[in-house]
Symmetry: C2
Subunit: 244 residues, 2 copies
């Protein structure tokens, strides 16, 4: 049975303040939890409708009822299990590589989708400005579909990170060069900006090249593409040229 | 003032049954409504916090309070206005062109995003199976960000539509040919399948070629890309080759 104290603690984990206080975050759904068990993340406890599904000896597993699961889940339609996990302290590899850099992305769904794209295209590291949405936010975790356990995500001062002169910074910009006629080197940073305001001026000063996805439609009212979609199209283009 | 009858009628428009019964659908937000006024869609009435913003003589405009707007809006955070509009009866152009074909897409957000992509890439027509989510669904309308007024959307029997031997059907498939080494002709259909089940077997019998977005990451657990994201990456690739 779930105590009132446990329910209150787990419910508080939708707020960054409490995730930091308890050093915990939640992950929902057997499929993702099973992947997590294979990862570097430590799971403190699992609350499950089907505890027998987890054949592990070193994790506390608690059977819960549907009513109890509903109380601790952040989903409108709770899945089968909730895992209480410990955040990983991550740091960047010293080896230069293609990295995504997020400058103030705010929407958890966009962040989760970008993590999933990174995983798909084999990008191992994402560097975020300090004000980018917290990646342990339950909506980010859920939107990433388990990819968060396979991509390293580090929050840092972007001005410092982007000032490395050996690695060119490609930035998305409404008036940038045409993506489809841009060649990318083997190592670079791809910088993506905030949903409403784009890349901030200070970050922009570190741009090696600005790129833009051309609009082929002739309708002037068309909204610009969402940042996660833009990331997908740009990565597609980058890896297409690696392929041929 | 809004009558109880009006509120009840407008609220019912979140259901396809009532949209068909009244032959009406809702559009929210001044920006999109202003674009609609320029389009072929007929607006029956506008309910607005700022009626003076609409300088039109042939549309009923009603001032409403925030409390009233909340009662008729489908959004969690209602915008400034709600327009009551009449669906357009649309039919395909006789001229062959690149078309998107949706085989049972269910998620309104995916449908809206695909409409927005079509608008961006200048694709004028989307052909949907009868069981694809209704494009007048308020969530589709909202996710399309106004693009729905610039792209023609037609529901039809796909078996009949795809059987035209002059136009090759390219279909997404987990085991298809590599997108990045596929050449596309000047006219074709790009067929996209249901979120869970993909393209149905009957539709597949009309495939000229199956294509797939290769996964560059080496992590076997990675979820396949969402159908809207896949559409964006494929369209990027198709139009990249048109560009160079």
């Amino acid at each position: 049975m779930l105590t009132h104290h446990t329910i209150k603690t787990l419910q508080s984990l939708d707020k960054k303040k409490f995730r930091q206080k308890y050093n915990l975050f939640l992950v929902e759904g057997n499929k993702i939890i099973r992947e997590l068990i294979q990862s570097a993340f430590k799971i403190q406890a699992i609350y499950s409708l089907n505890p027998e599904e987890f054949n592990v000896y070193d994790i506390e597993i608690h059977a819960v009822t549907e009513v109890e699961l509903k109380k601790i889940s952040f989903l409108q339609h709770p899945k089968d299990s909730v895992a209480v996990c410990v955040p990983l302290s991550q740091s960047l590899d010293s080896k230069p590589k293609i990295r995504l850099v997020l400058d103030g992305i705010q929407d958890p769904g966009n962040m989760g989708t970008i993590i999933r794209l990174a995983d798909w295209f084999g990008i191992e590291e994402i560097v975020c400005s300090q004000d980018t949405v917290d990646f342990y936010n339950p909506k980010v975790i859920q939107a990433s579909m388990g990819s968060f356990s396979r991509v390293k995500i580090v929050y840092t001062d972007l001005s410092k990170f982007l000032s490395d002169k050996d690695i060119p910074n490609y930035m998305t910009d409404m008036d940038g060069d045409n993506l489809f006629s841009t060649d990318f080197p083997s190592v670079f940073n791809l910088v993506l900006g905030n949903e409403g305001n784009g890349i901030r001026p200070l970050t922009e000063t570190f741009a090696y090249r600005k790129i833009s996805i051309p609009r082929f439609g002739h309708q002037k009212n068309t909204e610009s593409l969402n940042v996660a979609m833009a990331t997908g199209i740009i990565l597609g283009q980058i890896f297409a040229s690696r392929e041929n």
